[in-house]
């Protein structure tokens, strides 16, 4: 049971909360059906029957099944067509199950089958699953956050996943998950992005990375880069995609540093960031590197080139 669940209202994005409460029922029905269709294609009739029957059972049996899925279903990655993937992400922006195991998809589907009508019971059941979860169960639970009812209820849990040092758990909330973009306040969002950068995660897999860029984050990234450089370490060149719109004279000197780097990707990152800035000084800096300037302005060079 959850003892403390601090949910400062300021940490919640009011506009999207309202919208998503309205949408959540419609959306999860669609997703439920889609997920089931994918599961059906990836299981034998016996396996599908087992899962379907568990999905219809009382909460306790359903929760036990959530735990026991790997004892009944094979360990494999689901086959999912490009069409199915697009259907999922069109209906529910940012939601993707590419590369998920069958166990993970099935667990997420089981969670969508929990009856949400009694909020207290529903929350208690989900919290129990969190409290007793092993690593793969945590991954499934965090993957399912955007599909659960009462989305604002899970904010504390979600920020806890960002605090996790288990890479898989962090990835489950941070990458390809639409929940943080919708519900994290700015401090929590910035913490997620910074931790992803700090751990050399591919930040382009963070949903809403560009939408949620902000001035405070750009300042902290500059500080972070200085620490790395002082230690003789490097910074992933694509982090500079988060600073273009918030360019300052201080950040411009970082850009200068990058243009002088031996790593051509650093130079490319600086060129792209300068091009995104409305500061005249940024443009003046960029035109000193005509080759890079031309690549950026002609669209030959984009951030996608730095996404590793």
């Amino acid at each position: 049971m959850l003892q403390n669940n601090p949910q400062p209202e300021s940490d919640l994005r009011g506009e999207s909360r309202h919208k998503s409460e309205l949408l959540s029922n419609v959306m999860s029905d669609f997703i439920k059906d889609k997920l089931w269709a994918i599961i059906a294609l990836n299981t034998s009739p016996e396996e599908a029957d087992w899962l379907q029957q568990k999905g219809l059972s009382d909460p306790l049996e359903l929760m036990t099944a959530f735990v026991a899925v790997p004892r009944s279903l094979p360990k494999k990655v689901v086959n999912v067509s490009q069409d199915e993937l697009s259907a999922l992400s069109t209906e529910f922006s940012g939601f993707s199950i590419l590369g998920w195991s069958l166990v993970r998809v099935s667990r997420v589907w089981l969670l969508t089958q929990l009856d949400p009508s009694d909020r207290h019971e529903y929350v208690k059941n989900i919290e129990t699953l969190f409290d007793t979860a092993e690593m793969n169960e945590l991954v499934a639970l965090y993957s399912a956050l955007p599909l659960l009812s009462y989305p604002d209820q899970w904010l504390f849990r979600a920020t806890d996943a960002v605090r996790s040092n288990m890479g898989f758990v962090f990835d489950a909330i941070a990458l390809h998950n639409p929940y943080p973009e919708k519900y994290f306040g700015e401090p929590a969002w910035n913490q997620l992005v910074l931790k992803a950068i700090f751990n050399d995660k591919p930040i382009h897999f963070i949903e809403g990375l560009e939408n949620r860029a902000n001035e405070q984050l750009s300042i902290t990234i500059s500080d972070f880069a200085h620490e790395r450089w002082a230690a003789g370490r490097t910074v992933s060149p694509q982090v500079w995609r988060l600073v273009g719109k918030y360019m300052t004279p201080a950040l411009l000197s970082d850009m200068q540093h990058l243009f002088g780097s031996e790593n051509t990707e650093d130079q490319k990152g600086a060129a792209l960031a300068c091009a995104e800035s409305s500061l005249p000084a940024a443009n003046n800096l960029l035109i000193q590197y005509p080759n890079l300037e031309q690549s950026v302005k002609s669209g030959v060079l984009t951030w996608a080139d730095l996404e590793h």
């Binding site: 494999k76 007793t132 890479g167 898989f168 050399d200 591919p202």
Partner: protein
């Protein structure tokens, strides 16, 4: 922690009764470089080791020595617990954080779940633990109920031992029995008799911490006999070689039971090297240091050898968009011999 080997304070569970410490055996140095070649290409499975009490250096050394998978039995904390939450946190760590930590070093981590015999003596708490235990034993990678059995051999210990045998039967899981340090022979016999009384198939029961005095009866009755190579208090590996010479490899397995006491996470590779030096066949070594443990605990249905026998030891289902950096990342190995830390 009783680091003085002549001290007999019964603190860490496996570090007791140091009668051998007094008559220390002839000192023999065999450095890693000397035995590395003897075990080259061998794979080891340690079916009993408490990684929560070990360092990252141990994980790296184990990986380097060929240990590809291990089982961490649930045991106690070294001091009494103050409530149910510490059981929950501990059980969760066995399937969560510790499992992840192990994966970072390329070692597949399994566990057995159970209420330790010492802790069975706190009956009010034991009662609550029994209520939550079923939540954990069905988890992925839980390969048995353990380590359970007797410590002081009190009525409370017997009560919870019996209840957990029933739980194992219901969940179709093997049982890992801890045999007591004191009054071992009687305790071992009693553990086996009770298991049989509850209708357990002895081929589903691993009796741990055997010695020369207990092994015959354990094997004769059809149980698996595990031996713990643990300095001073349990088996030494020279004695182990003799046991294998006498009884052969059938249903015998070796473990380290390394914990917070003076113990050795490389007990298995070292024992394998010693067996090789003494002319024991490669197949026998493979059985007692690897295969038998897999056969015994594999009855749980939770061990898929392809998870650790494939060269990469990367679980394909844990890959994310085919990008291995997203697996949580294996730890880079720092240059240990270098004075410079980067």
């Amino acid at each position: 922690m009783c680091l003085n080997r002549n001290e007999t304070a019964p603190n860490p569970s496996h570090f007791e009764e140091s009668e051998e410490a007094v008559a220390a055996p002839a000192h023999r140095e065999i450095a890693w470089n000397d035995y590395r070649d003897l075990i080259k290409g061998m794979r080891f499975f340690d079916p009993h080791i408490h990684m929560v009490s070990r360092t990252t250096d141990d994980y790296q050394a184990m990986h380097q020595a060929g240990i590809v998978a291990l089982i961490e039995p649930a045991f106690w904390l070294g001091q009494p617990r103050t409530g149910l939450s510490s059981f929950k946190d501990y059980y969760s760590s066995l399937v969560g954080w510790e499992r992840f930590r192990s994966s970072q070093f390329g070692i597949k981590h399994y566990c057995t779940m159970g209420l330790n015999s010492r802790e069975a003596n706190n009956e009010p708490l034991a009662e609550q633990v029994m209520e939550i235990l079923p939540l954990y034993i069905y988890k992925e990678g839980v390969v048995g109920v353990g380590e359970i059995g007797f410590d002081d051999q009190t009525p409370a210990e017997e009560k919870y031992y019996r209840l957990q045998l029933e739980l194992a039967k219901e969940a179709k899981l093997p049982v890992q029995i801890h045999t007591p340090h004191r009054d071992k022979k009687k305790g071992t016999e009693r553990s086996m008799a009770i298991a049989l009384e509850h209708g357990l198939d002895p081929s589903w029961v691993i009796v741990d911490h055997n010695n020369e005095e207990t092994v015959k009866s354990v094997l004769d009755q059809g149980f698996w006999a595990a031996f713990t190579i643990y300095p001073f208090t349990k088996m030494g590996n020279e004695r182990m070689v003799k046991v294998v010479e006498q009884y052969g490899p059938e249903r015998i397995m070796v473990n380290s039971a390394a914990d917070w006491g003076i113990s050795d996470p490389l007990a298995i590779p070292k024992t394998a090297a010693l067996m090789k030096m003494r002319g024991i066949s490669a197949e026998t070594i493979r059985l007692v240091t690897y295969q038998n443990a897999i056969d015994a605990f594999g009855k749980s249905g939770q061990i898929d050898v392809s998870d650790f026998e494939s060269a990469s030891s990367i679980d394909q289902t844990e890959k994310f968009h085919g990008n291995s950096i997203l697996r949580g990342g294996q730890q880079p190995a720092p240059a240990k011999d270098s004075l410079v830390i980067q």
